[in-house]
Amino acid sequence: MGRAVAVIGTGQTRHGRRNDVSYPDLVREAVRMALEDAGITPKDIEGVVSGTMPSMMEGISDTHLYFAEALCEVGKPVLKVESCGSTGQSIAHCGFYWVASGMADLVLVVGMEKMFEGDGQATMSTVADPWFLKPFSAGAPGVFTMQAMEWMHRFNIPEDKAHEAAAFISVTHHDSALDNPYAHIKIKIGMDEAKNAPIITYPVRLLDVCPTSDGACAVILASEEMAKKIGRKPAWIRGLGFRGEEFFYGESNKSIWPSATEAAKHAYEQAGIRDPLKELDVAEIYNPFTYQEMIFYECFGFCPRGKAPDYVLEGKFNRTGELPCDPSGGVLCTNPIGASGLIRLAEATLQVTGKAGARQIEGAELALSHAMGGIDQFNGVTIVGAKL
């Protein structure tokens, strides 16, 4: 079914507060690195798809127009696809179908955000409708807290255990970010520090929460024929899925999160994965909040429902564990929203092509990448492998 599609190049900016460059120059930085990584020139590109968090964030709309040159779009077929926080996965999927359709052999996919130019929480609260949801918005942390509380209540998870596991995730991810040259937050923290960090929205504490970042990520997708011709080691897209629930947060059960569960299931079916914990070598999960990361472990079938804190505390998802999750430090340490989901795919690609440097998981051959968006509404998953 359809043509095979490979990731043959990735590029990321140094993420963080990037007021040293304009927004288009930030985009160009990632694009140039991806082109170099793939060993191709802008002329070779046959299509460009881009996206940000479609929002008031930077006060510019239809950014594919503004970034025409930075994205190498001039004279080329273009598409603009966006789906909130899950944009990074949505644009990767668009690139995938573009190549799979036979309409192009080389497609450039770029996600970007410059969050320091706007007000992140004010922006995110405008995803909510003005009548029912927005009046009670406590920003993104509020949403994720509601979800975490529901999850703990439903599965009778003692608060102390969840708190301990969340802190453990925070410590290990912050450690990992130290080995990632592109990461934004690079600090060494201990368990006590994570556990006693200031409360943002109980039980979520400062070190359970992602930063806001400036950053861009570019990925180059190629057909099988083109990938072979170019000859760089590719990561093959083995499965992908995207699902969304209702707009109103209270209409579906976020503690078992159908969209996350089904998006992964769909991707697993395509990739022929039956036991993700055993078969996957690494996972790059979109984890703006430590507690939420545990819910994802359960939705993606890495552990039984309600058991994520136990697995975490056993070290199963450490860099040395059975299924290392977010060895890049993840969204928890770097979050330029429109790029974040694509960074997950870029990191997964680096892992299965053996190019992840100090954060490399030895022998990684099959990796999951993921992004989440909306008010806990959307989830997208892409699985890449060293083998077709």
Partner: protein, 378 residues
């Protein structure tokens, strides 16, 4: 290669709707599914088109658009423009992964600020925005250059508005419909010299929805499929000063669509065109760039009367964007109109000739920075 068909479609009329965004979306998507006899959860994929930011006042509009588009727990995403959504949807079918995609484009003009308040947000914050550049001022630059370089007259440009607003009188879905004369147009208020008020598109409501299906699946939903034979997009430079405003990327986008559809002589092989002309003169310029007449002869084309609804080469029998301008949806409205004409079911504005092949065009950005072209065939 697989074939992609437009099987069923629906569009809202240009009148202001009291429905909220969700209900408005639901009504039209539902109409298409009911016509096709397809259940919501049987749809393979949902593709939404809506504005990224300012058109709805809600960030991540795909979130609020999701339920009314019928996307609950099925594969889907959102594109920035309705032509992008249609093309991406077609590619999803071509990939072999999906047999049906429901494309719904959503804009509720009555809720929004002025068109140019919104297009002003395309501008970069440092150079163009402080100068107040928006889609209308950019179009005024383009029109002046068009008249100066090729001697196209204001009267010739005004004739487009006369034709299109007149055509709209027969289109129940149009927003602005008027019998006007060239003098009426030229005497209407100057918006951004040389553009007159009647030469600029209104701000409209518009939800439009189309069910695409693969060649094999199409017959389940309709006995009159309209085939998507070709499509193409292309992007120009951002800064107006970096561009030749009369020689943009429409030619390139059209060439891509023509090559895919196997069209060599567009004027001969295409029977009808639905063109996105938010400013009257653009219909003439775009006709040149689409290869319907030589460069600089758009004025002669309208003078010849050939593009009238009942003549040899109808352009915008629906009334075009001058009569109906739901920003993001306006491309898909062109596609639906072209499909209606091919089916011979356009009602009062059905053209006289037999339409076998039709072209639909969409554009957004300043002075046509980005163009999309789709070729349809019966």
């Amino acid at each position: 290669m697989r074939k992609v068909a437009i099987t069923r479609f629906a569009q809202s009329a240009g009148v202001e709707s009291g429905d909220n965004l969700m209900d408005f979306t639901y009504r039209i998507s539902k109409e298409v599914l009911d016509k096709a006899g397809l259940k919501r959860n049987e749809v393979g994929c949902v593709m939404i088109a809506s504005s990224d930011i300012f058109h709805s006042g809600l960030s991540c509009a795909n979130a609020v658009d999701w339920d009314g588009s019928g996307a609950f727990m099925i594969e889907g995403t959102r594109a920035e423009d309705s032509m992008f959504a249609l093309i991406y949807a077609a590619m999803r079918i071509l990939s072999g992964h999906f047999d049906t995609v429901l494309v719904t484009s959503i804009i509720k003009g009555s809720e929004n600020p002025d068109n140019d308040t919104l297009t002003g947000f395309f501008a970069d914050p440092f150079y163009m925005r402080p100068l107040g550049i928006n889609e209308t001022t950019a179009a005024a630059f383009q029109m002046r250059e068009y008249m100066q370089r090729f001697g196209v007259s204001e009267e010739q440009c005004a004739k487009v508005a006369v034709k299109n607003l007149g055509n709209a009188l027969f289109n129940p879905y149009a927003h602005m419909k008027k019998r006007v004369t060239v003098d009426d147009v030229l005497n209407s208020e100057t918006v951004s010299d040389p553009l007159k008020a009647l030469e600029c598109a209104p701000k409209s409501e518009g939800v439009a929805s189309v069910l695409l299906a693969s060649g094999d699946a199409a017959e389940r939903f309709t006995d009159k499929p309209v085939w998507i034979k070709g499509f193409g997009t292309s992007m120009d430079h951002f800064n107006l000063g970096d561009r030749d405003l009369l020689n943009g990327q429409l030619t390139v986008a059209a060439e891509r669509a023509y090559r895919m559809a196997g069209i060599r002589q567009p004027r001969k092989e295409i029977d009808l065109a639905e063109i996105c002309e938010p400013y009257a003169f653009q219909e003439l310029l775009w006709c040149e760039k689409l290869g319907f007449c030589p460069d600089g002869e758009g004025g002669k084309l309208i003078d010849s009367g050939e593009t009238q609804m009942y003549r040899a080469f109808p352009v915008n029998p629906s009334g075009g964007v001058l009569a109906m301008n739901p920003y993001v949806s306006r491309g898909l409205y062109r596609v639906i109109e072209a499909a209606m004409q091919i089916r011979g079911r356009a009602g009062e504005h059905q053209v006289d000739k037999k339409v076998r092949t039709a072209l639909a065009h969409g554009t957004h950005g300043f002075a046509g920075q980005c163009h999309s072209v789709v070729i349809l065939e019966g």
